[in-house]
């Protein structure tokens, strides 16, 4: 499953170097380093409170790290430290080259405006000024995430949980980002809807050659989607490696516990 061509040929897209974050005396995250390559899917797994979400927020530039730094290779090929980006640049990056899929779709969507406008918002934010083209692109994306195009003018609050999540994905992917952050994208969905969503994400990732950092406590999600896995506990990365390797042959006792706690299929 590992995209060898991308791993070998390219430079890393995003690099984290000894990242740490402490809130007062509590160290939420300590000494995390890794590199993410284009087209690669990295899963960050661990129990609640292990520092996954803090790490994700630092990686996506929403939270300033207390130690270390994150650098990102921009579309123009220049690698830059996220902390040196101005707010305007960071926000621009966030709505063009990046995507962020929240666990709760209400955080990532505008619940009161139509699905079409939700998908079109990023396009309008980067200066698209032609209603017809925005709408065509929006309906194209709705069908790609398997939402009935007839519902383009309905507000997402009339959508089911699974549809909202798929809409959120469409909204993020419309500007063809290279890197998408996902925070428990399948949380709160029932199993069949989860399966469908994972299937969709997997095909989109392959099709668009997306790099994804996905935070999840669900090892099944990690196994289905990711090429590499990072296991976190108490704010540290305790084990990292190829997904199959980590999940089939876990070395750390904690990882062994995690793996053994999933019900066999």
């Amino acid at each position: 499953m590992v995209d060898q061509a991308a791993l070998e040929s390219d430079q890393p897209l995003l690099t984290a170097k000894s990242l740490g974050k402490s809130f007062g005396r509590i160290a939420a995250c300590r000494d995390v380093s890794f590199a993410l390559y284009p087209g690669e899917v990295l899963a960050i797994v661990g129990e609640s409170g292990s520092g996954k979400s803090t790490l994700l927020q630092m990686l996506s530039g929403q939270l300033a790290p207390s130690a270390g730094h994150v650098s990102y290779r921009m579309r123009d090929g220049v690698t830059r430290d996220l902390t040196t980006l101005g707010e305007a640049e960071r926000r621009f990056l966030f709505r063009t080259d990046w995507g962020f899929v929240h666990q709760d779709p209400a955080q990532g969507l505008r619940m009161a405006v139509s699905a079409g406008a939700n998908v079109g918002e990023r396009l309008m934010a980067v200066g698209w000024n032609h209603y017809g083209r925005i709408r065509d692109t929006a309906s194209d994306w709705l069908s790609r995430v398997e939402i009935d195009v007839a519902r383009i003018d309905d507000a997402p609050r009339t959508y089911s949980g699974g549809m909202r999540q798929r809409l959120q994905i469409a909204r993020n992917l419309v500007t063809e980002p290279r890197l998408v952050f996902m925070d428990e994208p399948t949380g709160g969905l029932d199993v069949s809807v989860q399966a469908r969503l994972l299937d969709l994400v997997r095909s989109l990732v392959a099709e668009l050659h997306l790099a994804v950092i996905i935070v999840t406590h669900d090892l099944a999600v990690a196994r289905l989607l990711s090429h590499r896995v990072m296991v976190m506990k108490g704010g540290r990365v305790i084990e990292t490696g190829l997904t199959d390797q980590v999940l089939d042959d876990p070395r750390e006792p904690y990882t062994q516990l995690l793996v053994s706690s999933i019900l066999p299929p």
């Binding site: 707010e87 139509s114 406008a117 918002e121 990023r122 396009l123 309008m124 209603y131 925005i134």
Partner: protein, 294 residues
Amino acid sequence: MNAPAYNFAYLDEQTKRMIRRAILKAIAIPGYQVPFASREMPMPYGWGTGGVQVTAAILGPEDVLKVIDQGSDDTTNAISIRKFFAKTAGVATTTATNEATVIQTRHRIPETALHENQVLVYQVPIPEPLRFLEPRETETRRMHALAEYGLMHVKLYEDIARFGHIATAYAYPVKVNARYVMDPSPTPKFDNPKMDNCPALQLFGAGREKRIYAIPPYTQVVSLDFEDHPFEPYRFNAPCALCGAENSYLDEIVTDDKGGRMFVCSDTDYCEGRQATGHHGSLSAAPYKEKAHG
């Protein structure tokens, strides 16, 4: 009347200086909402407390004041504000657009073209054009600072998706001097083109929201739109029933309970001016003697 109990134009001089500083800043940054320490005025919020404070701050003894409310010189709001300044500042008042040097307005721009020696003061209820799209004030300020106006088009997109055309008929968002997106106060979008490259200074005061903003003379003001759904001013497709004007903004007046209605100019001064020079419409009465304003 006894000795005046109030300072000239009601507000004390320090307050006027504070407001003038805000106005100067607003003129320097066209379309930018400048916070100011709005005062309690002897009228309720929503009746033009912002406009009144701006007017009070710029009014001089030589000024001639005109006040309109929805285009009309003789509604309660217009009359009471006009009387307020006649009493507290002793300035001359008028209903003729041409003669006025300061025009305070609620929701209209006069039909008669403005000239360089005039200041148009708008009463603004909600100065933030992004208000109903983004509830957080901190966020809207940031969006203005970074000129992130994609959201404004989301509103227009929603209009077209729902109604087939841009249905926003008033408070139609404009971009001032190619930088700030501004709410032109609830004027009908018919009036938007008049803001562009206007020779008069335009000041906007929002009393409850404590904001002042401005369009300096001869500033570019562009109504937002889509390439395939361009901005179109809206007007009822009828001539004025009293003066026959074909190009003025019309009010619809219901005349009976059987669907009868008439369309008349919302700008009363413009309409009366035309009638005085012999224009008449389908419902004009015989020449009418009484002077309209006292």
